[in-house]
């Protein structure tokens, strides 16, 4: 098979699996327990890395931007710059990338080892549709948890930016929070929440897809894991561009 036909084939298979994962939401049986377990693994399990990522990203944003802002005599806008960059771009993207690294890879390696040890076949043989029991709960959990984690990252980022402004830039606290929160209008908040929903879906589905597609024993599992992280990360960044573009067009 040429590279192009195999790429088209992969996109088609991925679309089929995603469609199944979504339509399963409206079909029985539903695996609610499995979904809650996944939400716990993805949500609670990623909390610490998201807190660290958000906090230091906010801090460095304040640090770097203050210099340029000072040149224009606009240091008082640091809060606004931190909050806009975080909420619209860096919060969703960095959270999604961290989730791709931690959760997407975990999903791919878990499902991949289930494939090579015939657990997926066993599941089908025992009357369970793996797309219902394995894929839909993971897709749902990462689609719902990524926005929540993004909000956490955003908040911690604002705190990080505030601490830097306060102690390093000697800015007034209330000035920082005023400008930071003023820019938080409905449109920006919406953009900041739509993106992580899409990213969460991408990361969860890519992890499931590469996991289930695994072949060739233990080596295959490693390969799937790597491919899922790389593919999910690239898709997140590409999707971010197009989502930003669409949202911009819609706003004007």
């Amino acid at each position: 098979m040429s590279v192009i036909t195999s790429a088209i084939f992969e996109v088609q298979e991925f679309t089929l699996l995603s469609t199944r994962a979504v339509t399963n939401l409206f079909k029985k049986p539903r695996y609610i327990q499995d979904t809650l377990v996944q939400m716990d693994i993805i949500g609670v399990g990623s909390l610490l890395i998201i807190i660290l990522t958000g906090f230091f990203t906010g801090g460095v944003l304040a640090l770097q931007s203050s210099k340029s802002l000072k040149a224009f005599g606009a240091v008082h806008l640091t809060g606004q710059l931190v909050s806009l960059s975080l909420i619209k771009e860096l919060g969703p993207v960095l959270t999604a990338l961290m989730i791709a690294g931690r959760v997407g890879s975990g999903i791919a390696s878990e499902l991949g080892s289930m494939v090579v040890t015939e657990q997926i076949d066993a599941m089908r043989a025992l009357g369970t549709d793996p797309s219902k029991k394995l894929v839909t709960p993971r897709m749902l959990a990462s689609t719902t948890m990524t926005p929540l984690l993004t909000v956490v990252a955003d908040l911690l980022g604002l705190v990080g930016g505030w601490l830097v402004s306060l102690y390093s830039l000697k800015l007034n606290s209330s000035l920082y929070w005023n400008t930071a929160l003023r820019s938080l209008d409905y449109n920006n908040a919406l953009e900041g929440l739509i993106k992580p929903v899409v990213f969460g879906f991408i990361v969860g589905m890519v992890g499931c897809y590469f996991g289930l597609r695994t072949s060739g024993g233990t080596r295959g599992v490693g390969l799937s894991t790597t491919q899922s992280v790389v593919t999910a990360s690239i898709l997140v960044i590409v999707a971010d561009f197009f989502l930003s573009k669409i949202i911009l067009e819609l706003q004007y």
Partner: protein, 265 residues
């Protein structure tokens, strides 16, 4: 009734022909032992019975129902009639042994938790692993995993059981225990089965011993002798995607084919 029937089944993976015009018939309460080297398509045959792998040509019937073109949803009903023991057990490693064995019952959604636990404990007793109930599969040895896999495969009382090399790589004693379980299911429960292996000694045991339940309720095993000869277990030997020998253990001993002779030594 014929439990499993393959008619002129051909299966290819990419360009490699794994099975060519393959025919097979397994009657009620009969065991077919499929012998063949590694990569000869044994696992593929079992997966085709379950509809996990679809043939490229030919037709497959299970309990007289043509399953060749059934969709995944339609296959679910057929699969309830079949238990499969996968090569390395394929236990779900995120669940305890008890949860693994209970899995088919839980999926059926017809049983109370008490019924399920009773059935699981009875079966774990049957395979000699009553204390393993709360263990995780990672804590078990290879032989224990296979026995748990047998328990999981038969807990919902399927009429057909498929065994994929259940004795491979096991010591003779564990291997013997597993053969006894297979014989007991065949002779006492009337289970039809395909037993795939390249372990000739296990195959010979299956073909020459039978289980009897004494009036006291105890199960004993008897070897074939001059008084009786087992007719419910036959051999099939696979080579290059085709059957090169089919018959009882007696006819196997007198077979002429070079590959068959080679296989026996």
């Amino acid at each position: 009734m014929i439990a499993i029937r393959f008619e002129r089944v051909t299966k290819m993976f990419d360009d490699q022909v794994v099975l060519k015009d393959f025919d097979l018939k397994v009657r009620k309460a009969e065991t077919k032992i499929i012998l063949g080297g590694s990569g000869s398509g044994k696992t593929t045959i079992l997966k085709m019975v379950l509809g996990l792998v679809k043939p490229d040509q030919g037709r497959i019937w299970v309990n007289d129902r043509d399953i060749t073109d059934l969709s995944e949803d339609e296959l679910m009903d057929i699969r309830k009639e079949i238990g499969m023991v996968f090569q390395e057990g394929a236990l779900f490693d995120s669940m305890t042994v008890g949860e693994n064995v209970a899995y088919p019952l839980r999926e059926a959604r017809r049983h109370t938790p008490e019924e399920m636990e009773a059935a699981v404990r009875r079966l774990l007793g049957f395979v000699g692993l009553a204390d393993a109930f709360d263990k995780m599969p990672s804590e078990l040895s290879g032989g224990m995993k296979r026995r748990v896999a047998i328990a999981r495969a038969v807990v919902h009382r399927p009429s057909i059981v498929l065994y994929d090399e259940p004795t491979a790589g096991l010591d003779p004693i564990t291997s013997r225990t597993i053969c006894d379980l297979v014989i007991a299911l065949r002779d006492l429960e009337g289970v039809s089965s395909i037993f795939v292996t390249h372990d000739l000694s296990a195959a010979t045991t299956l073909a020459s011993e039978m289980a009897i339940r004494e009036s006291s309720g105890q199960v004993t095993f008897r070897s074939e002798n001059n008084e009786f000869c087992l007719a419910n277990t036959r051999f099939v030997i696979l080579k290059d995607g085709q059957i090169i020998f089919e018959g009882t253990d007696e006819s196997l001993d007198t077979a002429e084919d070079e590959y068959v002779r080679e296989f026996l030594t």
